[in-house]
Symmetry: C2
Subunit: 397 residues, 2 copies
Amino acid sequence: MIQIAILGLGTVGTGVAKVVAENASQIERKLGESLQLKTVLVRHFKDGPYRQLMTDDFSRIEEDDAVRVVVETIGGVEAAYEYTKRALNAGKHVVTANKQLVAEKGCELLALAKKRGVNYLFEASVGGGIPVLHPLTQCMAANRIDEIYGILNGTSNYILTRMVRSGAFFTDALREAQTRGYAEADPTADVDGIDAGRKICILADLAFGRQVDPAEVPMEGIRHLSLRDVRIAQRAGYRIKLLGRAVRLPGSGRTAYVAPHLIPEEHPLANVEDVFNAVVVRGNATGEVMFYGRGAGEMPTASACVADVMECLQASPRREEIGWEPDVQGFEDPRALRSRYYFRIEGSLTDAASAFGQVEVLSEDGETAFLTETLSGREAEERAGSLQVLSRMRVLG
Amino acid sequence: MIQIAILGLGTVGTGVAKVVAENASQIERKLGESLQLKTVLVRHFKDGPYRQLMTDDFSRIEEDDAVRVVVETIGGVEAAYEYTKRALNAGKHVVTANKQLVAEKGCELLALAKKRGVNYLFEASVGGGIPVLHPLTQCMAANRIDEIYGILNGTSNYILTRMVRSGAFFTDALREAQTRGYAEADPTADVDGIDAGRKICILADLAFGRQVDPAEVPMEGIRHLSLRDVRIAQRAGYRIKLLGRAVRLPGSGRTAYVAPHLIPEEHPLANVEDVFNAVVVRGNATGEVMFYGRGAGEMPTASACVADVMECLQASPRREEIGWEPDVQGFEDPRALRSRYYFRIEGSLTDAASAFGQVEVLSEDGETAFLTETLSGREAEERAGSLQVLSRMRVLG
């Protein structure tokens, strides 16, 4: 019998306890031993099925040699960072879904885990229950990964789906998402691209082998997205989706950003709707591979954590492929990347053409919406300098 | 430095040699050591970049202690089975893309590998370069897997795509696939559902933990698919796709089959076109997760083999999750499964209604095409007993 502890008993923590109980026979068959929840760290005791397991003293877990794996579901950096270090130093494996902690401190925590001969795993931090990080680091290990992009935030994808399908304004769609429990009272991290930004940092770290500092990654959300753009794009055969994107550049260069994009409707990502997530990984041997499913939610995220618990107990600690260098050098401004651009301007086609030359007009209805030829982000900015720009987005592909 | 041998130098074998050479630096970074191709087993020597490494004597590999991993790319059962057993008995890890061998003898070969303390891995046998088996067995290990279905054969999906897009007849679309190198001169295994059948057996073995005998799995291909059905389905908002499907049944029951299905056009599988594959896995915690990409081809398949080579060298041999019981009991006839059915009959709506009661008419143009209510495969057969059935397919979902 293998005993584990959970830190925090919110959505993910409760889900982990449920998965361990409900899928006990599957887990035992695959692990060769049963898995038992021994201790739950909480700030405030409360009644419920786990009352007997609760403690508010982390040292009870830290000093308990019977606890071999700690599942950290506190979230944020401070306490989670502290407890993770202490657990690893105590020779325990640590598993988490905490994308902020992994994006900011993952490199250091992985190095500490390696030093202590234990594992620090975080499959659930990207894509919830969708397997992404293991496939990327293991199954695609013989590839040079050149690019990763995807719909990484279910809340904003739900809002965008409402805007496309029912013609809802952003504010109404956000309220609906909040009513359904898909968005929090403070939706900042979701709708401003911060959550997606942390995830693309983790993907870039693993894919390119060097730390990407989240503070350097431009993150643009969907708060200022206009319903007009959604409609114009749709009529022209595109969907607007919030993408996180990371691209390998020559040498050890790399870039990453989060922003809304126009996506051709025949692209597999265009049909990823509601709270679903999808991640596309482009390897130099496999080409593009896509992983799709529910990117959040109690049970999917929890089941990914429990799989990581099992992986910790079965894997040898010398997994070189999970980990990256702390060196942040070589990160470049994503405006170096080339693509077509969508613009909507307060101005005429003549204005558009005088700035960009050949353009593809999508709409001339008081304003002018058009697609440019392929150019870099810097060129797009410079050429638009004299225009009254109402909105600007990259076109995928 | 770690040395490997390749058995066979066809498409996949050549690809493995290329991936090892072209992605040497990625592989070395992740493995912590370099990977070197030492020996290639061929039947007939021929000139080329690997001439110096060739042998036609397997014992040269078997007795070479420096060779730690053997990549079997011969295909089929006989020689491949023999060499795999000898390599495992010699204490070497074996990696393969050989779906026929894994579907028929995988259980025995995995048991032998475990006995010898080595690994037998075959990620490339399903989905080519798309990570499917590792995500299923590892990342979703904390789930009870209830169902797996997908587009598992790129050749037949290419043919179906041509029939939908250009209104080509099956025979013309097959010729086009052959011209483009997507179909072999003898296309039987691809268009008659045998290749997809082997893959769904492997998926079912891993998902449900017991051997599924390929001989028991009904495999229906697309050779007799009519262009009329393709068109009627399309006008009604469906796409026809060849699916492999495996379903968990109560107790230790399970079933699997391969057949063309009508798929609602909003389902993610409906938009999987050309030679692409996609596999949907339904876990009781994660819900539905989809894996999508190129299911075949030299470099994708080879890169999956090389990733397995790396996995062999890093994984501990006690991976309980890869493996299944030899017991074939509990496999049930898929006609037990319930779904809506599509029928096209030589007869009138009155004939259809008298056999099935309430039906949804799709076409009444000399013949009658309709969808039934949900019923089991057996009921569908029985009720249609008095009708002149021109075609019959399950409707997904």
